[in-house]
């Protein structure tokens, strides 16, 4: 895994890497009654294959809007979003669903497992959509559940699992169709400190193992130390972008205070 080695190394050279998500002057306006709210005011951003990117920012900063844009969940009012070199705005409903099914894995703050399905069925649902036979899906689903450490609990329903375990199932589900990008929306917000750390480490591990790009919106400072890059969003614009090696110093500095 050359990508993994590259990640483990100290330098990430954006120029040498393939871009998986690219935004060009993305703007988003909402109408709230008479007032126009500018959630995003022109964001240019490149996200590279195999990187672990965290998006930080206070609520109301446009962070969620930006996050939804790069995840193909929202379309910009102006500007372009390319996911895997495809302009999201050009896709029809069917292609968009296909993109979400095959190219993007979603991890949610409140886990969002389907309550009527077992852990295994939750993991295999995207594979069923993608047209895998039930045998193929089951094998792959079991493999993924083992990877996230829940091989024994495949037959449990979400309400029989702890929060951390549910989020692990969600991680496995996000990886079901070998997506290009995994989008994690505050994945640790509903978890305690230790479980949150475990989930972060699991995501990092998946990122190292399979080279999947991970984009995470977060408030969680634990996330910073595993991220390759951190993007701060403020007032609908990218405030600054920091690489990990710069961050390490910062984090120690903050902790030293």
């Amino acid at each position: 895994m050359s990508q993994a080695q590259e990640q483990a190394g100290t330098t990430v050279q954006p120029e040498e890497q393939r871009t998986v998500v690219r935004t060009q002057q993305v703007k988003k306006m909402y109408k709230m009654g008479e007032i126009e709210v500018h959630a995003l005011r022109g964001v240019d951003m490149e996200i590279y294959t195999g990187e672990y990117l965290s998006i930080m920012g206070p609520s109301g900063s446009g962070k969620s809007t930006f996050f939804n844009m790069v995840g193909g969940l929202d379309k910009p009012s102006e500007g372009k979003v390319y996911i895997d070199e495809v302009d999201v705005a050009q896709l029809d409903a069917y292609e968009l669903a296909w993109l979400r099914c095959r190219k993007i894995g979603y991890i949610f703050q409140s886990f969002n497992l389907i309550p009527v399905m077992t852990a295994l069925e939750n993991v295999t649902l995207p594979m069923v959509f993608a047209g895998l036979t039930s045998d193929e899906a089951r094998d792959k689903g079991m493999e993924l559940l083992k990877k996230v450490g829940l091989g024994e609990r495949y037959a449990h329903k979400p309400n029989e699992l702890s929060g951390g375990q549910q989020q692990r199932v969600a991680v496995a589900r996000a990886l079901a169709n070998d997506p290009a990008v995994v989008l994690a929306d505050e994945p640790t917000a509903n978890l305690d400190l230790r479980t949150g750390t475990e989930i972060i480490e699991l995501l990092r591990e998946m990122n190292d193992d399979s080279g999947v790009t991970i984009i995470s919106a977060t408030h969680d400072h634990k996330m910073l130390s595993v991220s390759d890059r951190v993007v701060w969003v403020k007032d609908g614009q990218v405030d600054r972008i920091a690489k990990r090696e710069d961050l390490d110093i910062e984090v120690t500095h903050v902790e030293g205070e």
């Binding site: 969940l73 979400r100 969002n112 069923v128 959509f129 589900r173 509903n190």
Partner: protein, 233 residues
């Protein structure tokens, strides 16, 4: 330019067997509510069936035109128009027609109430499952998958409720008819007519459930996947 264009087979599917499985389980997990929704259908169809089957029974007895049966019928206020040589009086005809139109009104109203009830229950079910639907869409579900799931759910409820309604309506009517006319009912049992009524009632119940579920299913399907991200619902 790897990725979307290149990857062969751009299909997304939800096999019918899986859809059936998911919707049956969704019903099971909300069994209490499903039962209430279904009971609306049961009542409406039971009423429909009892009206139809009692009509069938009475008219079959009338057609026999035996004096002892006619006596029983007349006691119950049923015109036995054939007593005096076959010609039904105009007055009797008019009365019969009026009665029938009254029945139609009642049936129509009860079915309408039933549809509204189903639509209401399904809308509630959709609202309750906003996040689940949004999640499914994030996982790549098409609008049509969501519609399929909700219509299936409603159809199962409808068919089960209708069957129960048919049975209840028929048995009640049969019981009452036995009390009124005794063994004659069984002697001249209008089997074909009852089966025909049951068949039409089954169709009516299923169609009602589908019609009631259409708007809620459409609403569910049109939901944006971003809804799944909202944590405060």
């Amino acid at each position: 330019m790897s990725g979307i264009e290149v990857a062969g087979g751009k299909k997304i599917i939800l096999p019918m067997s899986r859809a059936v499985e998911i919707s049956l389980r969704s019903l099971k997990i909300r069994f209490g509510r499903s039962l209430i929704t279904t009971s609306g259908v049961v009542l409406a169809i039971a009423f429909l069936m009892s009206v139809w089957s009692s009509n069938e029974i009475v008219s079959s007895l009338r057609d026999v035109n035996k004096s002892e049966i006619n006596l029983l019928l007349q006691k119950k206020g049923v015109e036995t128009g054939l007593t005096d040589g076959g010609a039904e009086s105009e007055e009797a005809k008019a009365r019969l027609q009026e009665e029938q139109s009254k029945q139609m009104w009642l049936i129509g109203l009860s079915l309408l109430v039933c549809v509204v009830g189903i639509a209401n229950a399904m809308l509630m079910s959709v609202t309750e499952r906003f996040r689940e639907i949004g999640t499914m869409k994030c996982l790549g579900a098409l609008d049509s998958f969501i519609v399929k799931l909700f219509l299936l759910e409603s159809t199962f409820q409808g068919v089960a409720g209708t069957m129960a309604g048919i049975l209840i309506g028929f048995l009640l009517t049969l019981g009452l008819a036995l009390l009124d006319y005794g063994g004659f009912v069984l002697d001249y049992f209008p089997m074909a007519g009852i089966l025909e009524s049951a068949f039409y009632a089954l169709i009516a119940g299923t169609v009602l459930s589908l019609v009631g579920a259409m708007l809620p299913a459409y609403r569910a399907a049109k939901m944006e996947p971003v809804e799944a991200m909202r944590s405060d619902t």
